[in-house]
Symmetry: C2
Subunit: 324 residues, 2 copies
């Protein structure tokens, strides 16, 4: 074991257990305690503060530094993080949207095979959460996480991508693109990419993409329009077939604590103690169910179809629970 490998191992040990006496480390690493001391000094030199304690029960411990040390994770931690990143994708937090996606793509790319299968088993077992939850019919665009990460990885790696696409007029085509960036707009994901065959920039809704094939051809990124611009031009907020409006008997702040930003827009009503929630969706039934599950007094004010649907469901429930 040479110096560099030993330093990596040392970092790993220090992360695995919080507290290590020098000669225990020495034994583990197969060197003398003096060398461990030298290694510790080296790590500090790299900017990873290793704290030391003298006296009885003394030892070394990794402290908080200016930057995060290289994380050495064990299997379960990797799985926990991967599952967590998947969940964050569902939460759709603008600030770390791209980051969680790229971190997940990175992780899945580097993850040992044995973990991949465990991860898949886990994900299959996990109840769907987040915006997609409560939607067994899956008319709301539910994107295969595999599609999402493989595209994210292609963006990152700058490799050419091929896939089947169904456009807004239901026309099917096979596309070959140089992917530029994934953009989330509301509940939907879009890919901004340069379409090689059409020799122009295009945006693609991920839920309309099928049979993705990541080639190993790399490309040099070309100058082009801002991907976010491209998408927002192509997919205006009004593009959802349904916009459900709900009056909620709670302050806007309270409602926002329960409704992810991407799901809907929350505004305070005039009186301040009630608010108006507006949800754009492809699937009216899903939205109605979602509203039902809110821990507030709610009233769907439109569209009439949603109002009727909620009335019917509430009526059924009431009837079922008063009789007998």
């Amino acid at each position: 074991m040479d110096t560099a490998e030993r330093l990596l191992a040392l970092l790993g040990l220090l992360q695995h257990r919080a507290h290590w006496p020098a000669d225990e480390l020495a034994e583990r690493l197969g060197v003398t305690a003096r060398t461990v001391r030298r290694d510790v000094v080296r790590l500090r030199g790299y900017g990873y503060p290793v704290e030391a304690f003298a006296g009885h029960g003394g030892g070394y411990q990794l402290g908080r530094g200016a930057r995060l040390p290289p994380l050495l994770l064990d299997d379960d931690e990797v799985l926990a993080i991967a599952v967590g990143l998947g969940a964050v994708g569902g939460l759709a937090i603008a600030e770390i949207d791209q980051a969680s996606l790229s971190a997940l793509a990175k992780l899945e790319h580097l993850m040992p095979v044995r973990l991949r299968s465990r991860l898949e088993a886990l994900e299959a077992a996990i109840a769907t959460v987040g915006p997609a939850a409560g939607n067994p019919a899956a008319t709301t665009p539910v994107i295969d996480r595999r599609t999402l990460t493989s595209i994210a990885h292609a963006v990152h790696q700058r490799t050419v991508l091929e896939f089947d696409y169904v456009d807004g007029r239901e026309a099917r085509s096979r596309r070959t693109v140089e992917p530029a960036r994934l953009v989330r707009a509301g509940l939907r994901w879009y890919l901004a990419a340069f379409d090689v065959d059409r020799d122009d920039w295009r945006t693609f809704r991920l839920d309309r993409i099928g049979a993705v094939e990541v080639s190993d051809r790399r490309f040099v990124p070309r100058a082009g329009p801002d991907p976010v611009d491209l998408v927002s031009r192509a997919a205006p907020p009004s593009s959802y077939p349904h916009r459900v409006r709900v009056v909620v008997a709670a302050t806007a702040a309270d409602v926002r604590r329960h409704v992810p930003v991407v799901l809907g827009h929350v505004a305070a009503a005039d009186d301040g103690s009630t608010s108006v929630l507006e949800i754009g969706t492809d699937d009216l039934a899903w939205a109605v169910t979602y509203v039902l599950g809110l821990p507030f007094e709610v009233e769907v004010v439109g569209p009439p179809a949603a109002r009727a649907m909620l009335a019917r469901r509430a009526g059924e429930l009431a009837e079922r629970h008063t009789s007998g």
Copy 2:
């Protein structure tokens, strides 16, 4: 920059961007391409497979190996992971329960200060999800994530812990313990620990713990009963004040896809096409709201109070939506 630091930097670069030509790496690292090649060989020797491509557009790329390489994450990725791990805590997946907690505690301990504040801001902004969602009154035990991770960290670091505790008979006391392990039982978290003053093992419900103070006194773990045993003895599944039973018009498998395991138990009914969901909770109102939000036809069969509560809520909703 010495060899070890350069290797760490190299790992970082290879993770940051997918594809690197040798001389670009050389320039970044301030060495010749020959040295980069040697470093690559070294990394491979450590078990991190670096793939190489010759010819036009050739270069190096980190591949999938037997174990995950030390992860060098940028700020946003760290935040995404931290948020994700928080979400996993909410999901409560038995397989990675402890791992997500320990990973989060680890991360928060190592995280640079500048990220801590960003993380706190993010978490404050995020809508509550998971089992705790839909519970503004917070009578269901909602545990401060700060408490959870600081205890997890103390377990990991083996440091003595002090906190205020309110026991089942509402008696307040200040405890000094040697924490052994966190155990989740249903929706609740317990700490199994050795109570120093009482000189015996005890279990503590986390939602009854307040004012945690992590001392810097370390302790040597003592032999004791199995923490999980201890907790399951102290907290039988029947310890929830309410057990709501719901007949759901969907197969048990479908229901399980929507109900996290810790939330409730799902059993197939005799006919196979309907199932019975049983939710243990402290807060009847929350459970009723939760059931309302399920995307299935449901009927609460007990207890009567829950049935009545649902009937009332459904009735109100129906009335509000049929008039006008």
